[in-house]
Symmetry: C2
Subunit: 243 residues, 2 copies
């Protein structure tokens, strides 16, 4: 398949999405440097001038540049070269294209944003609205708050009016979660001048090492899973997975 430089640059000048499959070699220089030898790849150039390069396997793009990247096609040494640069980010990428397998531009219309349930935010909302999930008498004061103590998921008082800090994790809690909670507690103790602050890790599970660390420093664990509100949304339909 033939693709001339003019056609490519004209496509780039439009606000369209470009889909290119080709055999190419890639040089990148920016936050790091990389070289990828010749092979077949799929290149997507989006309307915001994000560029993604995918190999035939794997989830992550093998090379990419962020939105706002400038691109120009040139013909050099008998092959098409796509030069990409992002001056503010000091990033450069050259794609040496030896063969174009297919090329298309698309006018895409998509104003939709994803709705997602089951995040850590949903989890802290659930605890805030259902404080008995933590323990009887727990009184939440705030959630997801950027305080001078740090970004605390849920903050409140227990039945004895002792301060309680809760760190939520949607997955199995590891010792980074424990360290994070410990950091908040240390800061609160310093700033409020109190010596007793309870800390609770709320997660579906916790690793053995993290649990040990948690106990060693006198913190607590509650087994709580993030909610999946959309299950309600799906209920009226054929259930996902029924096939």
């Amino acid at each position: 398949m033939e693709l001339d430089v003019l056609a490519f640059n004209e496509a780039l000048s439009r606000n369209s999405v470009i889909l290119l499959s080709c055999c190419c070699e890639i040089h990148y220089s920016g936050r790091a440097e990389s070289f990828l030898g010749s092979g077949d790849r799929i290149i997507i150039i989006k309307s915001d001038k994000t560029i993604l390069i995918h190999q035939p396997v794997g989830s992550a793009p093998i090379n990419y540049m962020k939105d706002g990247t400038s691109m120009v096609a040139v013909f050099e040494d008998g092959r098409l070269v796509l030069r990409c640069h992002n001056i503010p980010l000091k990033e450069y990428m050259d794609i040496f294209i030896s063969k174009v397998h297919s090329f298309q531009q698309l006018q895409m219309e998509d104003g939709e944003k994803i709705r997602l349930a089951g995040s850590e935010r949903d989890m802290s909302d659930m605890i805030y609205d259902n404080p008995q999930l933590i323990e009887p008498g727990f009184k939440p004061l705030s959630r997801e708050e950027h305080t001078k103590y740090g970004f605390i998921d849920v903050f409140g008082y227990d039945r004895n009016n002792a301060l309680v800090v809760i760190e939520c994790k949607r997955y199995s809690a590891d010792f980074k979660a424990v360290e994070q909670l410990q950091r908040y507690i240390t800061k609160i103790k310093q700033l409020k001048g109190v010596d007793k602050v309870r800390g609770i890790v709320a997660a579906p599970e916790i690793s053995a090492n993290a649990l040990q660390m948690l106990k060693d420093i006198g913190l607590e664990f509650r087994a709580i899973s993030p909610p999946k509100y959309l299950e309600r949304f799906n209920r009226g339909q054929k259930r996902l997975g029924e096939f």
Copy 2:
């Protein structure tokens, strides 16, 4: 553009890569749950049965499933539906396709792996080979080692034969880096029964908060940047960015 269910399923049964641009609506259920209303997207199905769905802007796929996902196309309520499931991961995704804009399958050949320079590993190698970057008299013993103390970037002795642990960061060090270093040091002190172990964060820069924390617990900082070996590789050619 018309695309029948049979053709789609036959394409799926091959070991090829599928590129599809279409208007679709997406339901996902797995690690979380999501819903994305109707709009134009690009769908890539790779030869390892990874599926990626991209909107016309942004770097990250808006929906995706990992390699090894089972997929089947069906015709339902007047539209093409692509059902995806990954039993071991308990993930499900339904793509309701109202209009196919383009469809192609590709036989891609690509055995290349990326070569990358400027990683944290390169940085610890550089320090190991040039210990004076840390300070005169520093004697490195090991690098990038999984020890019982943790995964330590560089480990050695200073001119006074005191133990030194170095944590490298290729970007600006934050207080997670400080906590990581602190965790290794605490463990070494416990297990070796020594009370004096020096800790150094080596990074191009460090945030003000992290530096404060570092000083508070008696650790040190060295301003060191990761190397970019490939600059040598590129030297013979037209330099990247010269256009």
